[in-house]
Symmetry: D2
Subunit: 136 residues, 4 copies
């Protein structure tokens, strides 16, 4: 299992007139969580794209349990429960507020695709190498 | 069953560097679908809020089957399979491109809440009246 | 002079906790105004990009005179005061509410650039042909 | 003169199909710059709103000199050239990339307004106290 955490400060632009973060903006928080999770492995999603592999989001589910508010400093926890096999990678993602309460819980499925042809690919070897030790 | 459709043109701002609509932006497309679905009943979500009821999104799932591109004229189809009972309302939402191909399919659960207290509420009677005939 | 108008409905996502449209979102409203202004000429910005020309925004000014609110049906008025010469094109843009009151007034300067090389280009001939009659 | 700096990492969602940050998203980067500039004084914009004062953006100008790219770590430099008098406050804002090159330069005028009545207000005393020493 590979777990990582990163912090995000809620922007004014991300609130709506319910005085909470608009639900659609959690897609960006989850994105930042995944990107920083890869960076903490010692590579970057930008590197992955530079290797000719893109990782589009194929499926996204989220439960909005408690609202996040303007200027909250959120913690995004990103978990890989299994070492990806084949072209699929699934992240479990949770967002906590400063009191440690769970605000949002979700799951995001992405594919590894070859950038030019959009054919199914697998996780770049370099990324597998970085991840392997968490799953033995 | 109550089904409604509305059109949305993809904005440049909504694309990302994969040359497709960023997956998080579908939350807005679904929102527009639900809002226009209520308007086609002869009231508006703004009216609902004016009656002291808000409808936050509680749960969201979406599958991204085919990408949408810049300037595509999308059709959002919004379906209520059941007349809401209690504080829950669930919309089935699909997005089609101009060739009629399904791009995105999702399900969005919202609650009716009293705006001030955030207590669970039920669908405003006026809205029930408008919807009833579709479910008999 | 070439003037065109288009309508935009304010989305919930575009409001912020001041209960008005977040100022940054006007960039998208202006974008829609320009894009529809080109479409009303009988071509599309997508066509322009397909000809190998991109039009990045180089300079932007906006005055926010009155707020726009959720579900408002806005009118974006887009004006070309001069037929573009060289690589510059400047749009005057205004946003009005349903009562015809001016909410936002701005000016957006874009360049015509060759997509691959980012070299300065000029307005595609096809677009000049469509525009010419408005400036004679 | 009061100058502050803060860092922002470009999100995937903030790029568009030109492979650069969509120009409208700089409004959010500028917002973060102003908010962190106030936080570095030892209070927060959230505190300001809690005191019953809101600061809507009244005018925004920006020049987009060089593009920002995905995953760039940007520096937002925010400058107050004068201690605000009356209901106006003007920020000079610049965005630099990791090589220290200027990408975007702008100016944002905000008003101090009383939240309930929208009447013109002045800078909260607490904020003036924090700022004064930079302008003597």
């Amino acid at each position: 299992m590979y777990i990582s955490e990163t912090k995000i400060r809620v922007r004014y632009a991300e609130t709506d007139q319910m005085n909470v973060v608009y639900h659609g903006n959690y897609a960006q928080y989850f994105e930042v969580g995944r990107v920083e999770s890869i960076r903490q492995l010692g590579l970057s999603y930008k590197d992955v794209e530079a290797m000719g592999v893109i990782m589009p989001v194929i499926e996204w589910t989220a439960k909005f349990i408690r609202p996040a508010h303007y200027d909250d400093l959120l913690t995004v926890r990103t978990t890989l429960k299994e070492l990806p096999q084949g072209h699929r990678i699934e992240f479990i993602q949770e967002i906590y507020n400063e009191e440690g309460r769970l605000l949002t819980a979700g799951k995001v499925l992405l594919y590894f695709l070859r950038a030019g042809t959009m054919e199914k690919a697998t996780m770049p070897e370099h990324m597998t190498d970085k991840l392997k030790s968490y799953f033995s």
